[in-house]
Amino acid sequence: MEIEKYLAKLKREYMGLTPDSDFVDKSFERLELPVQKKSPFSFFVKKPAFSLAFTLLFIFIGLFSLIQVAQASLPGEPLYPVKKLYENLAFTKPQGKKEKTERRANEIIDIVNKKKGKKVLKETIDDYKKTIDEAKEKLSTGKDLEEVLSEQEKRFEQAIEENPESKEMLDEAIKAIRDEKTGEDVKGEIDGKNEKSESEDKNSGEN
């Protein structure tokens, strides 16, 4: 039996199922149509592409605002991890490492001024030391960094004058700067010596 053939015959019966003529003619008049309520989101439902673009834009603006607000946060605050994440993504170039030391130094001074507590200050100073080490590794010339660090040293000294109770901690930060500078001097001396011995070796070889 070809079932499709018989379904086609049944279709004829089905098509004969018609409503009463009274229902056809008058039922619409009897229909109580309520006032249509337009949803404020109906436009987005009708235009899915626009809706997607709007959602993406909304997310982008939201993220941008969050990152902007997070830039003013200090260690221990809820948005601080966002700030750190942003820094890890944005400051990958060697020059960015210098910017990171600047940011940590600013945080140290803010923590001291806002009297955020010794624990937070200690953690930030530790982070500051790490950032200096990172910058030292990445920057080809130490001169740029040295200038920035000297500037920061002055600001720390000024902060000590304004907040003598934080002297002990800030001294640690200053010590980190001085260690870095001394390390650079020592490295310079070693490099100088190496260059000198290399040229002596060369000369003796020629002779």
């Binding site: 039996m1 079932i3 499709e4 018989y6 379904l7 086609a8 015959k9 049944l10 279709k11 019966e13 089905y14 098509m15 199922l17 018609t18 409503p19 009463d20 229902f23 056809v24 039922s27 619409f28 009897r30 229909l31 109580e32 149509l33 309520p34 006032v35 249509q36 309520k37 337009k38 949803s39 989101f41 109906s42 439902v45 009708k46 235009k47 899915p48």
Partner: protein, 180 residues
């Protein structure tokens, strides 16, 4: 007449009841016979048909008209949901109606053997579950595309194709069983 449907819908979306009246006339018979075929009760079919159009009217402002035929699928989807609600609430009535057609397996065999092959298919169709019967009606009686049926039923087009194929096999097997 159907060429005017998109324009009528747009007018109805702005609250034009006259435009909706024209849409109502275009689709009333289709929706009615679909509902009537499933519940076999004239008065109930009229009530459910009217409810379907009231629901369609209420939801019209958020309806997205993308291509021809979509509005038809939209109406059938509303009708199908109302049928599902009705059949869920009044399961006893549905069973009673099926019992009118098929009283027992024994009666069915006697009944079927007395009828022509065409009737056999109709009865086999009556033994399918509601979802399967609806798919047969939409595909073979209303001649809707697989794409439209997929929108009404809420499954993807491929799944509907497979389901239609399976339903036909099922029908063939049932008819074969009646023959034995």
């Amino acid at each position: 007449m159907n060429e005017d449907v998109p324009e009528l819908i747009q007018r109805a979306q702005r609250g034009d009841k006259e435009a909706f009246g024209q849409i109502y006339k275009i689709y009333l018979k289709k929706i009615y016979r679909y509902i009537y075929y499933m519940i076999q009760n004239r008065q109930l079919a009229e009530d459910i048909t009217q409810n379907a159009f009231i629901k369609a009217w209420k939801a019209l402002p958020s309806f997205a008209f993308t291509k021809n035929g979509t509005f038809q699928a939209y109406l059938f989807k509303i009708a199908r949901n109302l049928l599902t609600d009705y059949q869920r609430k009044k399961k006893d009535i549905s069973l009673e109606l099926i019992a009118d057609v098929v009283k027992s397996d024994e009666d069915l065999i006697d009944y079927v053997t007395r009828k022509e092959e065409e009737k056999t298919v109709g009865n086999a169709l009556a033994t399918l579950d509601d979802d399967e019967r609806q798919i047969v009606v939409l595909r073979y009686f209303e001649e809707l595309s697989f794409s439209e049926i997929s929108k009404i039923v809420g499954k993807n087009e491929g799944a509907i194709r497979v389901q239609v194929h399976r339903i036909l096999i099922k029908l063939k097997n049932r008819i074969k069983d009646y023959g034995n």
